[in-house]
């Protein structure tokens, strides 16, 4: 499920996500975060594609993490999340969440 909402992310020493807060809920990462690169449909976005600008046009850095809610009172649900690094330093997006149950809880 595509989410695309801002999140606050706390990083470990090697720069990978450790904890994050989303919709008022704190989550703790319980897997080895896996870094990957998704792509953008750059031809639909405003702007140019002149020589020398291209790498950043396509690649979108993501971290895939398994996480559980740390906030008391929430039902404990394991979920998998893609956290996307935005172009401004320190800003993150919750890109996607994978969990059927979570889906129904969040958007029912």
């Amino acid at each position: 499920m595509n989410i695309e909402e801002p999140v606050t992310v706390e990083l470990s020493d090697d720069g990978s996500p450790l904890r994050f807060e989303w919709r008022g809920v704190h989550y703790g990462v319980i897997s080895a975060p896996e870094r990957w690169f998704a792509r953008r449909p750059w031809w639909l976005l405003d702007g140019r594609a002149s020589l020398g600008t291209g790498g950043a046009l396509i690649d979108r850095e993501m971290w895939r993490v398994d996480a559980v809610p740390l906030t008391v009172g929430m039902p404990r649900r394991d979920g998998t999340f893609d956290l996307a690094l935005r172009s401004a330093p320190g800003e993150w997006h919750m890109s996607r969440a994978f969990d059927d149950v979570l889906d129904t809880q969040l958007f029912a």
Binding site: E34, F37, W43, S50, G54
Partner: protein
């Protein structure tokens, strides 16, 4: 930092895939500390020679491989048409636009091992050739069918002493596909099968592009691949499956993917991200550890992965000398030529017998000097060991003569006496002072080029004959890389962005001869791009289009057969180069002309030249029409030795001093004459007024950027016309500068200057010429010193300091200007021959021009030229027209019983059926086979044209002769309208009468007559011209411009034929249809546009300088019918051109004018 070698790298020579030039990839690897660099292009070795060359230059070792598709074991499609008919398939909806291709074929990479005397290289070449081996019909495979079955590499890659290459199973392999599908048992059994098929010649290629977890080339996937290699016991290597040099190039890759699939971005599954770049050794090490950390293997596995990569790289390092025989000539052995013993002895023997044939009438002193020259040439050829090469070329040339195909060596090869004696060239090098040393000096290490022009229409026959004569294992066609130019780049970029066709057309049609990479820059500079520049400002997509067009510039698009290159090799040719079928079915090397010298391959340029076909056809028409009266018909002496008794003219023997021919050239009515028909050349010819063959050589040599910029033309003309005294630089130069009036034009003259001044040989002179701009050669210093030291028998200096200054200034400034005289002379021969034919046999020559279309002008202009010369054009006639333009005798009416006087006969040109729009080869064949016809019905029945074709033939009058054949009722003449009525009636019948039931002798024309009685009017001249243009793409009855006559008269437009009567500087208006657009090199370096308009009376040439270009804007290149305003400028006795001030679109003017007319009419009534 330990090194890392990228073993899987696609360059831009992986067409529609890679984005980076091999040289750039090598340079980047070297700067990162690489000792070895690999290239593994898709489907071939297209970039391999360049890669090896770049590696040698950078002082590193090269690895070469190929990336090939893996085909299913059974190639036969299993679906049978019968079963489909039994059970009709449910209506299938098209797959959703974003669906990935059903099953992208698996791919493998094959790396040749090195240091095995070329065994690895040969195996690679032969495997690739097998992957391209022709489809059943001998034609190229479809791109999706290029590849190899899993069982095949074994036979190529496992040599007698073990493997000679290694197959890499990377992220696109069948094994990796199984891993990605999480079917590990299947993956393991596949890998085990590979291992069994290719013992010791297999490795798992671990690639991590940091794609979405679980996908191919993700961290997880790479980790599983590594574990799999470990468990099956196959070595693993790390690579980045490189597709581009920098992350930035990934955008270019996206655009190429779209071009490859012919679908816009967003309508197909794109590459997953931009990670397939040439990452640094440090980054690759980090990846190795990242992968291992995600695997079940110990950390030491990372070091092992990296060291195995380097071990394989070492195995694959090539030794260019031992593995590729780098730069060593590989030519057919003399035994293939049927020569026993020493080829040099044979070459001398043949040359000496040629001496008698070519110079039988020469004086003995001349003969002596020719023999001396021959000795020198033979000695040089022998020293280089090129005797077999010359014999090979002579063999090819003899092969062409035996096929009765005209041929003529071009280029510096014409400077060789040996070539002349062996009949490779037909220009006498002694007579025109052409020098062997310019062709083959002292220091050459690679084979000299001999280029042969042949009849274009016979080129493929010649290729086939060469393959037959030398054998398929020794001959291959050369290929060429077609690269993106501005227009193609804009089209594919537009496609990628999903622009509609109209938008793409608007941009593409206005791009004119500039580099795509300068697109944005020229937008503001070129007036014809004004509209596009405005669009760019307002439309973000067009703005983006400019960026993408620039990115595609010069990337290879596809490979095709080179227009003339034939490679003649030794028995091992197919171990040297992979071959694939060309469009004509013959095998074609994957190397292009830039690869030839380094690969040590001999390329013979067999260039199809339409003018040679034209000449041959004119000669055959002369013989057919005139037979033994040929000489008389052409106004030649009846005993002319170059005309045979039965009327065959030996064009290579005609006298080169024929005054009638030069008189014709001097009129500047040079249309159809080789090399001298362009507007610029007409201007130069008008000024020069050539009087001898040497002038034609000079004319052709002067008409190029260098001499135009260097102002060599004016002194030449002034001296020729006696306005100035010749300046010979030094009196000793007179003998060899006299023919060019003191102006230094030719390389040959430079050689002679060096030789005279410095007392050196001509070969040394050529060495000086070649290195004149190389500071290390210190040519200037040597020239000054040795020339100053050159003294006569009294010890006096021959060249004083002033003379040395003067001479050096000319030599230095000459660098880019000079032209090889042998080249000019070889060109001037067909120039003269075509002029000679046009002068003596105008009808036959124009018929040949129309048939073979050798020139730059449209056929309508040739028709006008024929009419101007008094040669009638005979209309298309299905009973008389052939597939070519033929000459017909038109006998004047004469009283009964009076015999025809052959001199009274006029020759006309009958139009050809092959120019009828939409006629198929089969229809043409049937029409010709059944000629003549007795009626329209008869024609429809026996020739069986399509209905559309029948209609078109009727419209242009090709059926008129059938309708009037019988002495019909009324005035006996059926109108075009009657013909068309009959055509419509025949078509309306629905069913054609069956041919077999009808006797051709039946008086069908009687039916026609009966049905032609409806009286309908003749079409107007305007309608007739419009129809002819439509059907024939040229007008026969009247010039297209005549339709606009009322407007032109009102404007006071001047016919082109009257321009010569104007004073210099008269302001005039001309109109016509555009026949040529040129942007020739100019002295100032600024762009000048020449536009030639044809208005039926002749051709006007207008020059647009900057300001006028600005005014004309988009009209410059886009408009066919134009009106141009400008001032006349006399360019010589018979030349005039127009300096344009403005231009309009004639059609637009016409529309405006008609509106005005109508309004006035309304107001008047």
């Amino acid at each position: 930092m330990p090194r890392f070698t990228h073993l899987h790298v696609a360059s831009a020579y992986s067409a529609h895939f890679g984005t980076s030039q091999p040289e750039a990839l090598v340079a980047s690897a070297v700067s990162d500390g690489a000792e070895v660099a690999a290239i593994t292009d898709r489907d071939g070795l297209y970039g391999a020679i360049r890669h090896v060359r770049a590696c040698i230059a950078a002082g590193i070792d090269a690895v070469v491989g190929v990336d090939l598709a893996l085909l299913p074991e059974r190639t036969r499609r299993t679906s049978t048409p019968g079963r489909q008919a039994d059970s009709p398939a449910p209506p299938t909806s098209a797959p959703p636009a974003s669906a990935p291709p059903a099953s992208a074929p698996a791919r493998i990479t094959v790396l040749a091992h090195g240091h095995n005397s070329g065994e690895g290289w040969a195996a690679l070449c032969r495997l690739i050739s097998a992957a391209h081996s022709p489809a059943g019909d001998g034609m190229p495979r479809r791109p999706s069918d290029v590849g190899i079955q899993r069982s095949r590499p074994n036979g190529f890659l496992i040599g007698e002493s073990g493997p000679v290459a290694t197959v890499l199973l990377g992220p696109d392999s069948d094994v990796a596909q199984a891993v990605a599908a999480a079917d590990l048992p299947l993956a393991a059994s596949m890998l085990a099968e590979w291992k069994r098929l290719l013992p010791g010649a297999i490795a798992v290629e671990v690639v991590c592009h940091l794609t979405e977890p679980g996908d191919r080339a993700s961290i997880r996937h790479a980790a599983r691949m590594l574990e799999l290699a470990d468990s099956v016991g196959v070595p693993a290597v790390l690579s980045n499956a490189v597709r581009y040099l920098r992350p930035d190039d990934a955008v270019t890759g996206d655009v190429l993917d779209a071009a490859d699939r012919l679908r816009p971005l967003g309508a197909f599954q794109p590459q997953p991200n931009a990670q397939a770049w040439l990452k640094s050794a440090a980054a690759m090490r980090r990846l190795a550890f990242l992968i291992v950390d995600h695997s079940a293997l110990p950390r030491s596995a990372a070091e092992q992965l990296l060291s195995q990569t380097e071990r394989l790289a070492d195995t694959c390092r090539l030794d260019p000398r031992a593995d590729l025989a780098w730069r060593q000539p590989k030519i057919p052995s003399h035994t293939v030529l049927g020569v026993d013993g020493d080829p040099l002895v044979e070459l001398r023997r043949r040359s000496e017998s040629g001496l008698l044939e070519r110079y039988g009438a020469a004086r003995s002193s001349e003969l002596e000097s020719l023999k001396t020259r021959l000795d020198t040439e033979i000695e040089t050829i022998g020293r280089f060991g090129f005797a077999s090469y010359f014999l090979t070329v002579a063999e090819v040339s003899a092969l062409m003569r035996s096929m009765n195909v005209r041929n003529q060596a071009r280029g510096s090869g014409a400077g060789s006496l040996v070539n002349y004696l062996l009949r490779i060239s037909n220009v006498d090098p002694a007579r025109h002072d052409l020098l062997f040393e310019r062709f083959l000096g002292n220091k050459r290490s690679t084979l000299p080029d001999i280029d042969i022009d042949v009849e274009s229409a016979r080129r493929h026959d010649i290729y086939r004959a060469i393959f037959e004569r030398f054998g398929e294992n020794r001959v291959s066609l050369m290929s060429m890389q077609n690269t993106y130019r501005a227009r193609g780049a804009a089209r594919d970029a537009g496609l990628a962005l999903g622009l509609d066709d109209a938008q793409i057309d608007l941009v593409a049609t206005n791009l004119w001869r500039f580099n795509a990479r300068d697109f944005r820059q020229v937008l503001s500079e070129k007036p014809e791009l004004r509209e596009i520049a405005a669009l760019v400002k307002n439309d973000a997509q067009i703005d983006m289009l400019v960026d993408l067009t620039e990115r595609l510039d010069r990337l290879p698009r596809h490979i095709s057969m080179h227009p003339c290159g034939v490679i003649l090799g030794n028995d091992g040719l197919l171990n040297t180069t992979p071959v694939q079928p060309s469009g004509m079915g013959l095998p074609m090397s994957q190397y292009d002309k830039h690869d030839m010298d380094d690969a040590g391959l001999l390329k013979l340029d067999v260039l199809g030249v339409r003018m040679q076909s034209t000449l041959a056809y004119a000669v055959s028409e002369i013989r057919r029409i005139h037979g033994r009266r040929a000489a008389h018909a052409g106004g030649l002496p009846v005993d002319a030795r170059y005309v045979s008794a039965d009327g065959v003219i030996e064009l290579d023997e005609i006298p080169l001093d024929d005054e009638a021919t030069f008189e014709a050239i001097r009129t500047t009515r040079t249309l159809g004459m080789f090399q001298i028909e362009s507007p610029g050349q007409r201007e130069l010819i008008g000024k020069m007024q050539p009087t001898e063959f040497e002038d034609l050589i000079a004319d052709i040599s002067l008409f190029r950027p260098g001499p135009m910029k260097g102002n060599m033309v004016a002194p030449f003309l002034d001296t020729k016309h006696g306005f100035a005294q010749p300046q010979y630089l030094h009196p000793t130069f007179r003998p060899f500068l006299e023919s060019t009036y003191g102006v230094v034009i030719y390389h040959e003259q430079i050689l002679r200057i060096f030789a005279a001044c410095m007392n050196v040989s001509l070969a040394e002179g050529d060495e000086m010429r070649r290195t004149i701009e190389d500071p290390e050669a210190r040519v200037e210093e040597r020239f000054r010193r040795q020339t100053a030291a050159n003294v006569d028998s009294d010890g006096a200096r021959i060249y004083d300091d002033q003379a040395i200054e003067r001479i050096w200034a000319v030599l230095k400034g000459f660098g880019s200007f000079g032209f090889c005289k042998a080249h000019g002379a070889a060109f001037a021969l067909p120039t003269f021959q075509s002029a000679w034919l046009k002068t003596h046999y105008p009808a036959e020559f124009v018929a040949a021009l129309l048939t073979h279309d050798p020139g730059m002008y449209p056929k309508r202009l040739l028709l006008a030229e024929a009419r101007r010369m008094g040669v009638p054009i005979l209309p298309l006639d299905v009973s008389a027209s052939r597939e070519v333009y033929t000459v017909e005798r038109i006998e004047p009416p004469r009283p009964q019983g009076v015999l025809a006087d052959p001199d009274d006969v006029i020759l006309g040109i009958r139009l050809s059926l092959s120019d009828v729009h939409g006629i198929t080869g089969a229809e043409l064949e049937r029409i010709l086979a059944n000629q003549p016809y007795v009626g329209i019905g008869d024609f429809y029945q026996r020739a069986a044209p399509s209905r559309a074709l029948l209609t078109r033939l009727g419209l242009v009058g090709a059926l008129d002769s059938l309708a009037t054949r019988d002495d019909a009722a009324g005035d006996g003449h059926a109108s075009r309208g009657d013909v068309m009525a009959r055509v419509r009636e025949l078509i309306a019948r629905g069913k054609r009468p069956a041919t077999r039931n009808v006797q051709p002798t039946l008086p069908i024309f009687v039916d026609d007559r009966e049905q032609l009685t409806e009286v309908t009017s003749e079409p107007s001249m305007v309608e007739r011209v419009a129809t002819e243009l439509d059907v024939l793409q040229m007008e026969v009855s009247e010039h297209v411009i005549e339709s606009y006559r009322p407007l032109l008269d009102e404007l006071g437009v001047m016919p082109a034929s009257e321009l010569l009567n104007c004073w210099n500087g008269t302001t005039v208006l001309v109109a016509g249809i555009r026949v040529a657009t040129q942007t020739p090199p100019m002295r100032s370096g600024k762009r000048v546009v020449f536009i030639s308009l044809d208005d039926g009376s002749g051709c006007s040439d207008s020059t647009f300088f900057e300001e006028a270009q600005d005014r004309a804007g988009p009209l410059l290149f886009g408009t066919k019918l134009m009106v141009i305003q400008g001032k006349t400028r006399r360019t010589g006795e018979r030349g005039v051109s127009i300096e344009a001030t403005n231009a309009w679109d004639l059609k637009a003017l016409w529309a405006q004018w008609q509106q005005t007319q109508q309004r006035q009419e309304r107001e008047a009534s």
